[in-house]
Subunit: 328 residues, 4 copies
């Protein structure tokens, strides 16, 4: 390998935490060590960059974390990094320590910060997509998404037990403020009668038609999975409206909430995080900057960070049709 | 064994469903079969008894259910069984089929119905404690309780990942309208800073003192586990009050909800259910009636059903102290 | 959609069972129903085809199976289907029932049978890749692979607890007679010191060098993950050889075995199985034959079945390097 | 509380590791801290006592370990502690540090060491039963047993998926060199056809009779759970013998092995460990010595350590009958 474009890098986790962030961090630190790049961890995202909260990290700093949820570097949203002054402070710390490359693990907001930071100060940045929402362009899956799907699915499987035993209708809210990936996939995987996501214009009439069709086929209990960001109505309102038209239904609401962000990462997430963490460091070494490391069909690919932010993984239209066909 | 006191029995599940009800049902059906007792399953609790919704069951009727959550007989709360007319109809069906013994799997309400039914019509009844709440006297644990504890604990473990990563305070509501068993044990098992249960008079000041003490020891994130039936305030109110006194806290609320009722039963619940289902049938055979089968320190014991209803498993005071000591 | 190329189809599962086969079956049956195609399930793979063991299936035949491991149609390896006479009998049954399309869920062997059957008798066949080994060309993942990875990983995580507590070395054998996918990915995900797979020529010296390097970094316990089909030696032989050179090591062996084939499918496997089952039916309707339905980077693709058999998913060379770098 | 009988205590984990040992350690350390007792952790069991490998522990030393398998103090079997010289060295270290009480978390062997140590040198010792085997008298359950049961059960549930799909017979070996608790309870919980344990004289004829009876009832697949210490034959021999008499059977063997020792402890184990760790410290404070802290029917009880070693929890005879009745 020719000479590395970076000598000393820093790594941070920012935005909502996601299972596998620790595995990505471990990969960054150990890959840097393997290639004789110095590596610093930054605590609490961009806030740590601004406050100079750096931590020298070696291979042993990241032992026994590949299987842990959350992020040992902690995460935070930083208002100050949105200001020029904040970013200047952050840059000064980088200069002081001689840091010439920055790995930013997070989502949209994290990448936007990284992009501006690079454009203003020229420091090399590379993004690693860590968010359960899977709403980042340039990678088949984001880190944490697969684990969150399994967590949501397991919870809905359990809810189905009680729904079936009592002939109940459940409206289950899963995470996803802007994206319906978790709802669509966990709903498909649990045989949900209907799945409501922000990417599609849903109507209450269609939902009610589905209820009526289910009755005809003798289905005595139903699960409706609703993304957090669904525009038609939230789960409580949906329950209320349904009760009006179907007064005999025994209707319940469940909000899966923050447990979807935690837990030991799945194998797919640990492997993805390991590969992207590796890819982020080798990308920086090869001189890449302002890109995001992603994985497509098992290949490591780099996408301009601007594209990763602006474009979005599109919900597969087929999946909507398939979920409808299979939830007879 | 001398001659059995019963020749034909029926079994039903009633009240809120609990993991392990199927395992208990399987044990009832197969034990009856082993001892040449005819056995009927009754659908949807006491409603099925009233409506004559009986199902002849043999060993193969209950195959592959020991590991399934919910209840294949379905469950329901019956208003009609609270009336004399309803119970008369139920008794008529029993007479018609020649049923001389009834196994009722459920909680307090289920047992109250069974007791009245026995007192009015003389039909032998035996209760099997199936409820996640563990609020039944006469058994160390109720069926479903252990599974619910593990479900709640796993969810709180996940929430802790994100609480720790973001230095947050979480108020987590677990099930238990009248009893704090789930809250106390899952809270202890997850190192909750505080645990609020209906059996104890809690004060907001004490909670706030705990927050302040935690700050002093450098604890950056906290979980407070709150039983559904807590009298001081619900999780939303607690979050609001806390925010007023601790405006810097990043506070979130999570309601674990119905997933706590479902899922494949734990080993302890499957074994308990198997033993109690067996004990219910052999108890009826030996002429027992108006009792509940329970397990104490690995021994099968029968408790008068009246006692099982009126008395309550007491929250262990030690546990409250221990949880306080250990959540430093 | 223009007229369907098939009117009556059959579906079978063959070869080693894999989690998600039931989800694929459900998708085939319900998709067929949706498009007014008659659908038969065939019991015990090609044996059922030969013996005429067909089962008419409708939407309700596949309820509550999406979350179940194994295959309700059962699976078997059929010697008789390898003979012309056997296949003739199978074809006669198809003719008798008017079956004009066949969905074969399984692996290499299953597809070879399907291909010959198609070539001899012209009946349309389509393959669905269901095997935990992931050794099928034409799809990013096979059905069951993701679940098996998580099962293996969870087991190795547990073994690590005891390895660490006792400073032990564990040789863990995972499934994969010809392919190292499970070993490589589960080993990477659990931080294995070394991973031995049939695709690479391994040497005992290299393994011993890794042990010595681990000692130098102060690593007190180690996991070595070995694919079933590793050519260097099996886990027992490896343990013995290691003991000779490292007499102080406390060495243990674990063979994860058949549990890797079972369990409730992961979300990814349920979704993959649903999409491929759907794709198999719509593929047949569109006139496709002698192809396999697969998923690449979230897109449904069809690969000539001959190619799916002859080519192989290649182990990613990067992954070997990454696992070495990260297991410092 | 009157004055404590101890001022400075040490705690160690010894023998085979068990899930919940960390939770017990945490409880010991934090209870000691609460009552102003100094507390030292001893590394690697009695070896650490002999080598003076002590570690001062405070509340923060045990944070985030309640949910971790294994033991952060590490465990080992010590040959040297079986010698007078070894124990003298250990005592000298205790004297030097002023340690006047010792909490020993482990099983039979651990307690025997503790007892001799106390008798020779008078230092107060208290045992905490930490072993997955549940073969300790004086407590309903030992720490780790419940988790191991669930691990074994989950694995057997998975094996059943593949057994059922292929009509196979599986001989599954679970841990338990001297005790059949894990075999009996996990076998009962998974509907095993037969369960072979060292406490009962098993015969191959009886096993074969069970196979023949199962055939009659149409059971196409079977699981036989065998304790490690079964005297009749090991799983490989059983498979071979069965194959001779039932040549048509497709027979497989699975050895669950060391994964049964690991994993995050169940809620019951975390609570049990917390209560016993608390009870060990308060017991020492009250002047108790040469006893074991145990839990019976939710009450903390102390048993003379000699009794805990000599007597054994008896396999419940009812359970054997029940497992036979239910595995029809």
């Amino acid at each position: 390998m020719k000479e590395s474009a970076v000598k000393k890098i820093a790594v941070l986790t920012s935005g909502g935490d996601a299972p596998g962030m620790n595995a990505a961090l471990r990969a960054v630190v150990r890959t840097a060590n393997y290639y004789d790049i110095e590596c610093y961890g930054v605590r609490e995202g961009y806030n740590g960059l601004i406050n100079g909260d750096f931590l020298k990290m070696g291979p042993r700093s990241v032992k026994n974390i590949i299987n842990q949820g959350g992020t040992i570097l902690k995460s935070a949203r930083s208002m100050e990094f949105k200001t020029k002054e904040g970013r200047q402070k952050a840059y000064d710390h980088c200069v002081r320590l001689g840091i010439d490359g920055l790995v930013c693990i997070g989502g949209d907001g994290t990448f936007t910060g990284a992009k501006i930071f690079n454009e203003e100060f020229g420091i090399r940045v590379i993004g690693v997509p860590g968010t359960i929402d899977n709403d980042i362009f340039g990678t088949d899956n984001t880190i944490g998404y697969d684990t969150a799907l399994n967590t949501a699915m397991d919870a809905i499987d359990k809810i189905r037990d009680t729904a079936t035993s009592h002939n109940r209708v459940f409206f289950v809210e899963v995470m996803g403020r802007d994206a319906g990936f978790i709802a669509l996939n966990s709903g498909l995987a649990t045989g949900a009668l209907d799945i409501l996501i922000p990417e599609r214009k849903d109507s209450i009439d269609e939902l009610f038609t589905n209820f009526r069709n289910a009755e005809k086929t003798g289905k005595a209990s139903s699960i409706v999975v609703v993304a957090e960001g669904e525009k038609l109505a939230n789960v409580y309102e949906l329950a209320e409206k349904t009760k009006k038209d179907f007064p005999d239904y025994d209707i319940r609401v469940a909000i899966l909430g923050h447990m979807q962000r935690g837990g030991s990462p799945s194998c797919a997430d640990r492997v993805l995080a390991s590969r992207l963490g590796y890819g982020a460091v080798t990308g920086l070494m090869e001189g890449k900057t302002n890109v995001m490391a992603g994985m497509r069909s098992n290949d490591l690919v780099y996408t301009p960070i601007e594209e990763a932010i602006k474009k979005h993984n599109e919900i597969n239209k087929d999946l909507l049709l398939i979920s409808k066909i299979l939830a007879i």
